[in-house]
Amino acid sequence: MHPGIRRIGRFFTAHLDSPLLGATLLLMLAGLVVLYSASNANLGRTSGQLMNMLVALGIMWVFAQIPPHYLLRLSVPVYVVGLLLLVAVALFGEVVNGARRWLHMGVTRIQPSEIMKIAAPLMLAWYFDRYEATLKLKNYVVGAVLLLVPVALIARQPDLGTAVLIFASGCYVIFLAGLSWKVIIGLAIAGGASLPLVWSVLHDYQRQRVLTLLDPSQDPLGAGYHTIQSTIALGSGGLAGKGWLSGSQTHLDFIPERTTDFIFAVYSEEFGLIGNGVLLILFLLVIARGAAITANAPTLFARLLGGSITLTFFTYAFVNMGMVAGILPVVGVPLPLVSYGGTALVTICLGLGILMSIHTHKKLVQT
């Protein structure tokens, strides 16, 4: 091959990680295949998602090029801007479907909680990295505050799904930074003990909502409907599934939101337990690769950030599939890389790009 071409080729692939990229592409492919079925063979929608994927892959590439110490410097400004935007949303945000999530920025509108998904773990990783040598309990308390402020703002919008995910991503950083087991166990006990107290201050209708989350059959017309139908889709899929484009639950319109949050019900109905196994393995591949990269990262910042991204990716997948399979409450969390929709795709790929960057910039830092 011509050396020039090879050089150009190396420029594009230098900072990519092939195992991670491979698993990502396979998951995206699965997403396109099932989306085609879920959208009733709607080519326009499927190709639209393909475009989303290309954009997301581009962003993944860009972030793979950015060395981690650049991100370290960006952490605080990104977090501060994200926080200010969240406050702005609380004050002047636009209400869509009863929740105040969007902010008008001249011609376009943005959803600042999406920025926080990256900004919160960045900030916490930066903070623990900075006090690496002298971490005391005080530092964990400060870390918790840095996390809880944006989480509270997002939960108030209300956007419980996103708040829970960001909370989880921050908790992973705090856990990996080495929060004492005594404190972890203490918090777990305190949390468990305060549940009855929380319960007692809830309104009747709020309690009813929680009960419905726990037992969907209590509200088969409302929130329970999704779970009942998606469980039937899964169960009827059996070992090998009903075959692509042949899911009756899907095509007779019984699965709500079947291209977005409930796309896994469609996949599961048509590809069965075998298909589910394959999907779980693909997700595990991404997670295992992420963990491996994290374990070998050179700085605490990179380790904490990489660990948080990896575990948050797992959380997305677990919460979504758990909700479709009826073991977790229905919250608005998409299946990473598979669900239709551009925003979540971009956020996920951005995180994967950071993981690649951590891996491929390792040697540069060490020398």
């Binding site: 009863g98 990996l176 169960g235 994290t294 374990a295």
Partner: protein, 636 residues
């Protein structure tokens, strides 16, 4: 586990050890991931292998559709079981706008088969504006069998148009109970948002109607019931083949009112076509016996959506039939305020019953002359005479002696100027004037100041005073009940349909006013005097029971120093007639306040209505015809 803990005290940083600690943590997290995915896989295995047959059957037959079963709305009856609101089943012809290409053309086409009146079209248009496109909306209600047959034969021509059986609300008493019962209406976008916010929207799946005003609104939760669920198997065309499981709906509870429908009718008829309001209360419980605001409207107009024309007519009518005068209309109480003023004077020690003044027919204060209605005055006036003859001068002086804040405190304790808490929405507070109120009400400093001169006319129930007839009735009931105050309520009990379990609206006293027995006796004695030898003696002549009362007149416009001559004043600007009363005087069973708008003196227009109401309630004498004004009644 403590070996994993960081030890910040160590000065030398051992990078290797730290990395080791991190990797242990990461290892724990990875194990967690594996366990969780294992759990997920186990769940998949359970659903897709173990339970496969079960779900396979469900999906195959699938065609399982989950349908809401709308509960029957509770009915509303009076204390004797007379039906005030009920349901009936009827067939409707409905259009789902999102499934129809051209609404106009479709409706024209339908009109060739089934009669569609212009009113139907207008009503449909209004419904369309308030609903979502995919909702099924009625274009015609109450189809005849023949019409159903005719449409059924042509159904294939009308995709998106269906005949449905629906329950309708009916208000057999029409206008008579419009301001008590209120009405239901179609659930609109705003109602849905509210239901969503309260987490109640799934209970309204399939429900088309919701209480909009009156008791229908206040008791919506109890009346609606719980929506049932039916899992049905549908064929490929979506038609139900058989029911798989069914959770029955729980019908809404029935409301049993304290109101007596016949008494209500007696009141309603007594008004004739005059405007006004009457509230009658049982003093010992606060139960409302009659609650009339005239004019009313036909609530049945609202049930399947009111058309624009009727809506405009109701809204723009100068008689304001949509306004519930009894609890949202506020009026100066006029001289009906005097017994309460006298009670305040006794309670605060500003007057004794026997203390007399000499009334020259006017009262001078700060260079201004306040006139009494009786030219030349009433002569020597004690407390009894001040109430029986309704002497203004007595109360001008009394108001000045009490001062505005004492008056305000006393009247506030009787419930004037605050919501009574009656179990129907829309109540207003009215105005109980005080220095603090004026400061809040006005913005300019010179307007915020209370002038002593303003207190004078407060004493005879004019000035800033403005109360609802309900407040006046409740205060009268409290006085009749010797200072023990109950929350007025319309509903006696809520009855669950299946269990017959009754939840009473308990008559718990709000408070007992700290009044002396002899003071109460003085005021009541004077009020009995009013009906026996005073301003309303003519109205109560020959009554087989004794009663207490007080007439009043509320000014609509202020006249500057001239004498009010009714014939010179346009009808809408004439004074309102007021009357408060209770009976029997010894042990009151009913207390009421009545206002007749623009009818001049209380003794002429309002007291005769009260007589008719008492006659029916205490002796069963049922006249039930418009009461004629008593033109020879005293003019004060």
């Amino acid at each position: 586990m403590s070996d994993f803990d960081m030890n910040p005290g160590v000065e030398m940083r051992d990078a290797e050890l730290e990395l080791h600690h991190f990797r242990v943590r990461l290892g724990i997290a990875s194990t967690f991931v594996l366990v969780m995915f294992g759990l997920l896989f186990a769940r998949f295995f359970y659903l897709q292998i173990v339970m496969h047959d079960h779900y396979h059957t469900l999906a195959e037959a699938n065609r399982i559709s989950i349908l809401p079963i709308v509960p029957n709305r509770g009915i509303i009856v009076d204390r004797n079981g007379v039906v005030l609101a009920t349901n009936y089943s009827a067939y409707t012809l409905e259009i789902t706008p999102s499934k129809v290409d051209s609404l106009e053309a479709t409706i024209d086409e339908i009109a060739t088969l089934v009669e569609i009146t212009p009113r139907d079209r207008r009503r449909f248009k209004k419904l369309l504006e308030e609903s979502k496109r995919f909702e099924s909306l009625p274009i015609r209600t109450r189809l005849s069998d023949e019409e159903i047959a005719r449409f059924a034969a042509n159904r294939y021509r009308f995709p998106g148009v269906d005949v449905r059986a629906r329950l309708f609300r009916s208000y057999p008493q029409g206008e008579l109970f419009s301001h008590v019962i209120g009405h239901i209406g179609r659930v609109n976008v705003k109602d849905l948002e509210k239901l969503d916010a309260e987490g109640r929207s799934s209970n309204y799946r399939g429900t088309d109607y919701i209480g909009k005003t009156g008791l229908e609104y206040t008791y919506e939760d109890q009346l609606h019931g719980t929506t049932g669920v039916e899992q049905v198997e549908v064929d490929s065309g979506g038609r139900a083949v058989r029911a798989l499981s069914r959770t029955s709906p729980i019908s809404g509870s029935n409301l049993v009112l304290k109101i007596d429908a016949r008494l209500q009718e007696v009141v309603f008829n007594a008004f004739g076509d005059r405007r006004g309001a009457l509230v009658a209360i049982e003093p010992e419980s606060g139960g409302v016996l009659a609650f009339v605001s005239k004019p009313g409207f036909d609530p049945n107009l609202f049930v399947d959506g009111i058309d624009q024309e009727n809506w405009n007519e109701l809204n723009t009518s100068p008689d304001k039939p949509m306004v519930n005068r009894a609890l949202a209309g506020t009026y100066p109480p006029g001289s009906t305020f005097k017994p309460f003023m006298a009670m305040a004077a006794l309670t605060y020690g500003k007057r004794t019953p026997g203390q007399t003044i000499s009334d020259p027919g006017f009262y001078n204060f700060g260079g201004h002359t306040f006139r009494d209605d009786k030219v030349g005055g009433h002569g020597s006036v004690d407390m009894y005479k001040s109430i029986v003859a309704s002497c203004d001068t007595y109360y001008y002086a009394l108001a000045n002696d009490l001062g505005i804040d004492a008056i305000s405190r006393f009247m506030g304790s009787l419930g004037f100027g605050s919501r009574t808490g009656i179990d129907v929405a829309g109540e207003v507070e009215g105005v109980l004037p005080s220095q603090a109120w004026k400061k809040k009400r006005f913005r300019k400093p010179e307007q915020q100041k209370w002038y002593a001169g303003e207190t004078i006319s407060i004493g005879i129930g004019q000035g800033y005073n403005s109360y609802t007839p309900l407040q006046l009735a409740a205060a009268t009931a409290t006085l009749a009940n010797d200072g023990v105050m109950f929350r007025p309520h319309l509903v006696n009990y809520v009855e669950e349909v299946h269990t017959r379990q009754r939840t009473s609206i308990e008559p718990a006293p709000i408070r007992t006013l700290d009044w002396k027995r002899e003071h109460i006796a003085t005021i009541k004695n004077a009020m009995v005097g009013v009906n026996k030898e005073g301003t309303s003696a003519r109205a109560f002549a020959g009554a087989p029971y004794s009663s207490g009362g007080k007439t009043g007149t509320a000014q609509v416009i202020g006249l500057k120093g001239e004498k009010y001559v009714e014939s010179r004043v346009a009808e809408r600007f004439r004074d309102h007639a007021l009357f408060i009363a209770y009976a029997p005087a010894e042990r009151p069973k009913i207390a009421l306040a009545v206002i007749v708008e623009n009818s001049g003196f209380g003794a002429r227009a309002a007291a005769p209505i009260a007589r008719q109401v008492f006659d029916y309630w205490l002796t069963g004498k049922d006249v039930s015809k418009p009461v004629k004004d008593d033109d020879d009644a005293p003019r004060y």
